[in-house]
Symmetry: C2
Subunit: 594 residues, 2 copies
């Protein structure tokens, strides 16, 4: 089974669904237009297909290995990484001053979807470099940028995010790694960190760790955390490498999936580090990269789902079993059985919805930086903030769900490791966990994002969806329109209710009890909005005879599939949103016992 | 993490939810009463906890192994199996004439839930013996019973179901293994079979294969399939073992999960076999065991979900992170965060619903055989037939979903294999596939079960649920009652609509397009019915001061959790039920392309 990058779909989603025209119109990306986008996607897709996809299975089987204080990447991965860097793929969105290509973030995300789809374990390495680039670009000193940023952008070195400790996962405020001033402006880091993705490897000469730690006498909790940079090898002023620093991996985890991505336990034993940004502002600085990384994880969900979907579609076209009720053919491809077609159609619809959400979030991020007026930038920042937890959580849930349906379509073969479907199911499972579990995303959404601007961003979203609803009436009549109308109404009701609850200090548990269902409601409905926009754009292209009619008509039908199979969820989301914290509190250990 | 058999819950579900009193009232089980049930469950639970659960992890790590034409069970498994057989666990429901204990099937299922929970890979071995026992008991000759059945009941030998071939999975009608008369009343089997669970192992001296094959000149397709019995070692008339038969495993599959359960590729090379039952009636005979096995697979789903749930609950009580909005405690157990409590409560509610459905199906199976009048037996047979695909499919989906939530509650730890949560997620994934994929179950439900008696069984179910709805009004007011009422109405509407469609030959694809959603609708609502019956029984016990009040109150609250989090799905099911085959047919390869 070969992975084929969905270049046409990605370009369509960027332009017609996510709204790249607005990004181009800012003038901030003079090198960007739709043709450039297609060329970039084509080239990225080709690299993913030809170099990364063929390594996916061996990466799963052999994994990265740890021995004697260092990690060796899975067979072929180090070489593939160097080709990746040489191709300029680590600097797509980085500023030209740092050697980047200054292309829109949204285009980079679309290109990276193909990387994650081809080889999710590989993709994590550059993904975390991009997050490090984002952080250094925003809060690094000029010297830090000169010394480190250019090498990260060129891909000569990689970056790692070093946050979690055994006692500090979702609650980073309780971390205890220390940073002690050395007296020369540098600091000595001491502590143990876990879950450090690509924390060590042999693909590059140096690895830059961005580490959260506490200064002496820092306040307790989240307000006493600072961000530090510590390189695996010291960097001399002329850019050459000096001594090995005092940190090392002490092991890699044996995981359910992404075996080729080394998940390191790291020990810092007086590692020499520089402060990045302001003392005690580490958590805020880290969130600069966390937000980028969360969106990137959402794209991982889309990528792994696309891969699983393609695998299942190919199998369904090949495998013959039973008589088709449609064609009457005996021993028909299972693709011609309605229940299999249903699964594939729903998979495709959810992938398209998640892709739309993630790329629309990328567009919002670009516009939050580059829109023409401060008012517009503020508005787009609100959209980016509101969408980021949805893009992360909803898309990674789709990744797991689609990978599971992919197994199901294979029947017994799906459970056999050699088939490959099982790897996607295993790999996909991490994405709802890392960069903030999906439960944390939901709490972020209802706890912070929803009310950050008095609910303005949510109201703007509802207004935008209503505008699309009106246009939709020209395409469909009856249920496909009614379902979107009902769905928008559900978002409106739930949003108003939640904003009311948030005003009541006694209702904090009710809000938290609603968080998961509210995020899923928004994901379902915004996903439907994306497909509706796709259908409208496809209709315009059909009318203009611009593109493959069967494929464009498919966009119209895909919205209908989504409306029938996903938008109906809104009533179950509303029921769960209103369940209340008190009911859950009554579910004590005694009540839950066997 | 130790598995604790939920003996109290199992006994409660049998008596108060599934309706074992009706089984006892038949008089067909003179040795059965509620105390016997508790004693059996207690003893089974103890065996599962002490002998089987400790082998679960090593079974996953080492697996069963294949070398030189034979399979060796995972470390400790052969010995555990012999203890299991010695304890009488292979003969719980078998007739006393064959050495069994003649207890109700439903009790056996409840006892086996603990086996599957403790060690799903182990449980498959006796589970398939039970299916073989069921088939031989119903269609074997007296000689076959004497020669083979008693050894299967005692557990001295095991049985295997040998159906699938590389070209014949869901469509068994296309199998090509041949059975050629040897002239002495025996047959020579030739062919290759795949996915033969515990097809070979070293735990017993002999293994009895029940094999589907074709006689010479048999009609093509499903009507030309016969059932054969072929033992690994010939059995002499005095019961001693003779020559090794001409079949052998040629490999075992490398699977996503249940590593300790050998999934054999078997080669039959002139294996000497006996015909079982009538020529060309093999598929019908096999369905005798398929139905039993399907229900047993549903129970596997419940078992693995229970195990994953217990693991997650223990972790949530132990792991501390963040401040609780309920208790105000800093660094609180994550159990005290509403979103974690929501997950655990929903897991528990779905497990309880699936347990209720499976055990109610077991009760229906017992009553289909033993109810006092033919009319009652017919009615209960209808219930058993209607419920079997739901029990299989809905419960195994719950198995996967709960195992996935179990990982999620563990956060990053969930993705680490050593934690154990990942094994449940991997193991659980097979259950929606084997013994007929869940898509096949849905097609069986809408294609055969729903209309087998003109819809009478479905109407009887709706009437029974309505009776419970009336009682429910005494327990709750408002939403918990309204949601069940709406849910029953949805079942009624969908059922009438489907029965209408089935009368229209042009609507076959519409029915198949609705199958999955209709099965899920029935599962959701019948599951709610089970919890409602549990709540009513718990209330009666509370009023009678009969039992732990916190635990009994928990049953009332659990129904509310289910009503808020699951019953709301009915509108999404209805939308998908009505999507129509034509919409799916429009989703061509061109439309689905990237």
């Amino acid at each position: 089974m070969t992975y084929r990058a969905p270049v046409r779909d990605l370009a369509f989603t960027l332009e017609a669904v996510a709204g790249m025209a607005d990004v181009a119109a800012t003038g901030a990306f003079p090198d960007y237009d739709a043709d450039v986008a297609s060329a970039v996607l084509e080239a990225a897709g080709q690299f993913s297909e030809e170099v990364l996809a063929p390594l996916n299975r061996i990466g799963d089987q052999k994994g990265s290995t740890y021995a004697n204080g260092s990690v060796t990447a899975a067979p072929g991965f180090a070489d593939a990484y160097r080709q990746f860097a040489a191709g300029g793929w680590t600097g797509l969105s980085a500023p030209t001053e740092a050697g980047g290509q200054a292309l829109p973030k949204a285009l980079e995300l679309a290109a990276y979807e193909t990387v994650h789809a081809a080889n999710m374990a590989f993709g994590l390495c550059p993904m975390l470099s991009l997050a490090s680039i984002e952080a250094l670009e925003q809060v690094g000193t000029q010297e830090q940028k000169t010394k480190y940023l250019t090498k990260l952008v060129s891909g000569e070195w990689t970056g790692a995010m070093v946050l979690t400790e055994p006692g500090a996962g979702s609650d980073l405020g309780s971390l205890i790694t220390t940073a002690t001033p050395n007296g020369d402006g540098t600091y000595a880091l001491n502590g143990q960190k876990i879950y450090i993705t690509w924390g060590d490897h042999d693909a590059t000469d140096n690895i830059i760790h961005l580490v959260l730690a506490r200064l002496p006498d820092a306040p307790k909790g989240p307000k006493g955390i600072s961000l530090f940079l510590t390189p695996k090898f010291a960097v001399n002023d002329d850019g050459t490498l000096g001594d090995r620093n005092a940190f090392r991996p002490v092991g890699v985890e044996h995981k359910l999936g992404i075996h080729a991505s080394p998940t390191c336990v790291m020990s810092y034993e007086g590692a020499t580090a520089e402060l990045v940004g302001q003392p005690n502002q580490g958590l805020a600085h880290m969130f600069v990269m966390m937000n980028a990384a969360r969106l990137a994880v959402g794209v991982e969900g889309v990528g792994i789902a696309e891969r699983a979907y393609q695998h299942a579609l190919a199998y369904a076209l090949d495998r013959r079993q039973g008589r088709s009720v449609w064609t009457g053919e005996a021993n028909a491809p299972i693709f011609d059985h309605p229940d299999v077609r249903r699964m594939l159609s729903v998979m495709k619809a959810k992938i398209s919805a998640a892709r739309g959400i993630c790329l629309a979030t990328g567009v919002a991020a670009d516009l939050a930086k580059h829109a023409g007026t401060e008012e517009e930038r503020r508005r787009w920042k609100g959209r980016e903030d509101l969408f980021t937890p949805i893009a992360k959580a909803w898309s990674t849930d789709v990744g797991c769900e689609v990978a599971s349906m992919g197994i199901q379509i294979h029947g017994g073969m799906g459970f056999i490791e050699e088939t490959g479907a099982a790897q996607y199911y295993r790999d996909a499972r991490i994405a709802p966990i890392y960069e903030g579990t999906n439960g944390i995303q939901a709490m972020d959404l209802v706890g912070r994002k929803l009310s950050m601007d008095g609910g303005e961003s949510a109201r703007a979203l509802i207004a935008d969806m209503k505008a699309t609803l009106i246009d939709l009436g020209a395409l469909y009549s009856g249920k496909p329109v009614e379902r979107f109308a009902t769905a928008i109404e559900a978002v409106q009701d739930a949003t108003l209710w939640l904003l009311d609850q948030k005003a009541d200090p006694n209702a904090a548990a009710d809000v938290l009890a609603a968080a998961d269902a509210y995020l899923k409601l928004l994901g379902d409905v915004v996903g439907g909005w994306m497909l509706a926009k796709g259908a409208l754009a496809a209709k315009a292209k059909l009318d203009a005879q611009d593109g493959d009619p069967a494929w464009l008509q498919g966009k119209l039908d895909l919205y209908e599939v989504y409306a029938a199979n996903v938008l109906g969820h809104v009533s179950s989301r509303l029921a769960a949103i209103g369940q209340g914290g008190e009911l859950l509190q009554r579910m004590t250990v005694e009540a839950l016992a066997g």
